[in-house]
Amino acid sequence: MTISIVFVLFILLFFLPFLPGIVEIVRKKDADPLYIAMNYIKDPRYFGKSFKQLLYQATDGFTSSSGMRDVQLSKNEKLEVAGSMDVLNATEVHHLLCVQGDLVSRANAQFHKEVFVAGDASVGPGNTVQVLAADGNVTIAANVQLKRWLDADGDVDIGPGCNLGISASSGKKLHLSKDCLFRRLYGIPIVTGDNEMIALPYFEPSLSPVEPVSPEPSFVRIKDHTIPPGTILNNSVVFPQDVKIGYGAILKGDIKSYGKLVLEDNVKIDGNLFADGDIVIGRGAQISGHVFSQKTVHISSRTIISRPDTIKSVVGKKSVRIQENVTIYGYVSTEGQGIVV
């Protein structure tokens, strides 16, 4: 009897660790493959495009007559369709807006739901806007809070002290004033400060990138901490530590640093910048490629990144700090906080 009990107990205890697994195999509660978004592509204007597509379907191609109606988006919503609209001071709008003409909002209005404008939009100071998508140009006054995102086909002009939420994108020029906070920007170009683009081109016809013709890497490793002012290098360079590129240096190739990468004023880089540490770009720099840091990117005034006919990216994992009078053709992204200083 005792032996039987011990035997049964042994069997039970032996299988005990497997019991939850057996239950899971039978029930298949978590048996589906891990989800991969098969249709996902990186599109800096994804929000605007997908929202407009949803709204287009819900409003029969934006042809609905003016007035309120119910629409089915991700859930059932109230939608107001209007020709043109002038939203008065401190008005609160609690429903979706589809403005088929232009939209003007006065000071301190609050839009608690998404807004689509087929024409131009002018958002007054101190407004709070959940989402704004526009087919025309957008002007945003000072101290506007964008809760989620902004996208426009036309030019976007943003006043000082605005918070741009997750994303602000434009099919044309995106202009940001001082003290604007952001996480992602896209514009052709993105301009900060006085809104005057700097003359281009800034490189002579560039040499072809150095292609690897042997198994040896086409870049060189330099252990110096400083590249002297005025240096001209015609190769990609990897620095295993912090490095400072001196005033007026010209480098034709990619630069990578395993530490901090500092560009003094008027440096020209015909290539990409990569760094594990901060990237600090001095005034008047000209960079034709991407700027990518695992920490913070600081961009000083009169800097130009990328060219009018290309789209490049500035990525600073922790932060991107851009001074006034900077021009970037393409995309800016940070997981932390971006700011125009």
Binding site: G21, M38, Y40, P44
Partner: protein, 463 residues
């Protein structure tokens, strides 16, 4: 006899030390993923000047899967439920494909197929000018030889390789290609996710292994600037560099691991792209799995014999890279060490000589011994599942004990085969992993794509 017992005891202690080392390695990787700064990959870079790419897809009797991977690569904008059914719409939608067509070339390599693979590839080539099949019926068979011939044809700067059973999502080409803006990157590896998890216990356990191996192991090695491994599929490399290095060695079964170390020896880096996820079909029978793991072991150990000394004396690697490289090279030798240690401990037990250490050290010894092999990756797989948002699948963790003993045995056999390869200089024969998909069966819509809440999820991925 005393000398024999002493040797047995020393071997056991040696094993415990090795196992503790590997356990610490797994533990450090896990902690790194949980609590430390994560290095971001380059997927946030948007670039209008993408490099030209050639996709190579080695295929040996792949009629069951050939259409799906080609459809997915060609028609990246196309809704999956209609793939392969509407040729006109396919051509229309090519305009929206997520890689510039003038910079995209697809070379499916028909490697001695005797089924309908050839016909399928020719059919696609007739419809799409950028699909240029390569039919091989002469020379050496096998993936490395096929890739070498494919590279001779390829016009792209970057080679991206997929196995034929893979299901690439729409954005993966850009995600992989963009990393080559970094001047040091010689190769990049994406993440492999089994698609047929619901099939049986084996596929579910393999899913757990993959989760731990990629979500924690590879990403932690990327975070810590160690040695992420190029895995031969869902990854890419610079064509000119690999060509100049002599292309793939056709006598090495793990051509991917071999490439990883060859690039490292020359000063290039291999990086990991956790974001570049792609479905694969995991083996569905233990027999097929045994052949796969045996081949991996044989190939990996061939690489270990070749690169052990060059790695130690390399001037291109940091000390921590060398250390990680050594642990990586020995990964497929350790199961044999464990197997021998098990026999060793049995011998010592029956000889009445198991009292190797005393006091509190005895507890540590037992603890360390029990931490080996199967148990070491437990926390790695558990945390990986947590990071993936998986829920009930972690309940299967204890069942990995079956995989552990299974793998130990076949990896040990693979090790011996590699030893014989080394001694005799014989060349290895490539054995393809059997596919289980029904012919032209579309396995992606096994659930609704995207699932009901997926619109939200896509938005989250965007943000």
């Amino acid at each position: 006899m005393e000398m024999v017992v002493l040797i047995l005891k020393i071997y056991l202690v040696f094993t415990v030390v090795v196992l503790v080392g590997y356990s610490i390695r797994h533990f450090v990787f896990t902690l790194n993923r949980l609590f430390f700064e994560q290095r971001i990959y380059y997927q946030d870079i948007i670039d209008s000047e993408l490099k030209s790419i050639t996709i190579l897809i080695p295929m040996h009797n792949e009629e069951k899967v050939a259409r799906q991977i080609l459809d997915l690569l060609v028609v990246s904008a196309y809704p999956y439920e209609n793939v392969g059914t509407d040729a006109k719409r396919i051509l229309d939608l090519l305009v929206d494909a997520d890689y510039p067509h003038e910079k995209l070339e697809i070379i499916p390599i028909n490697d001695f197929s005797s089924d309908e693979t050839r016909i399928i590839l020719d059919e696609y080539a007739a419809n799409y000018p950028f699909i240029k099949p390569l039919h091989r019926y002469e020379g050496q068979r096998g993936k490395p030889a096929a890739l070498n011939e494919g590279m001779k044809m390829a016009k792209g700067e970057i080679i991206i390789v997929f196995d034929a059973d893979y299901l690439p999502p729409r954005g993966i080409l850009k995600d992989i290609a963009v990393s080559f803006n970094d001047p040091e990157v010689g190769a990049v590896m994406g993440r492999v996710v089994p698609v047929n998890t619901r099939t049986n216990l084996l596929t579910r356990l393999l899913d757990l292994e993959r989760t731990g191996g990629y979500q924690v192991d590879q990403q932690a090695r990327y975070n810590m600037k160690l040695i992420p491994q190029y895995g031969g599929t869902v990854g890419g490399f610079r064509k000119d560099v690999v060509t100049a290095l002599g292309s793939f060695d056709t006598n090495i079964l793990a051509e991917d691991t071999e490439l990883t170390f060859r690039l490292l020896m020359k000063g290039w880096k291999v990086i990991y792209a956790n974001r570049a996820e792609c479905y694969e079909e995991a083996p569905e029978t233990w027999n097929v799995r045994s052949r796969q793991i045996r081949r991996w072991s044989r190939g990996h150990n061939q690489v270990m014999f070749r690169y052990l000394w060059p790695l130690i004396v390399s001037s291109k690697l940091s000390k921590k890279e060398k250390f990680d490289g050594l642990l990586l090279l020995f990964v497929y030798a350790i199961p044999l060490v464990l197997l021998l240690a098990l026999l060793d401990s049995l011998a010592l037990f029956f000889l009445g000589e198991m009292q190797i250490v005393a006091g509190v050290f005895a507890i540590l010894f037992v603890g360390a011994y029990n931490t080996f092999g199967n148990f070491a990756p437990f926390y790695q797989i558990g945390i990986a599942s947590l990071l993936d948002g998986a829920t009930s699948r972690v309940l299967l963790l204890p069942m990995l004990i079956f995989n552990y003993f299974f793998n130990t045995w076949f990896i040990a056999i693979g090790f011996f085969e590699a030893v014989i390869d080394k001694i005799t200089g014989r060349s290895a024969t490539w054995i393809k992993t059997k596919r289980f998909r029904k012919k032209d069966g579309n396995i992606i819509p096994m659930r609704k794509w995207p699932p009901s809440s997926a619109d939200k999820k896509i938005e989250v991925t965007e943000s």
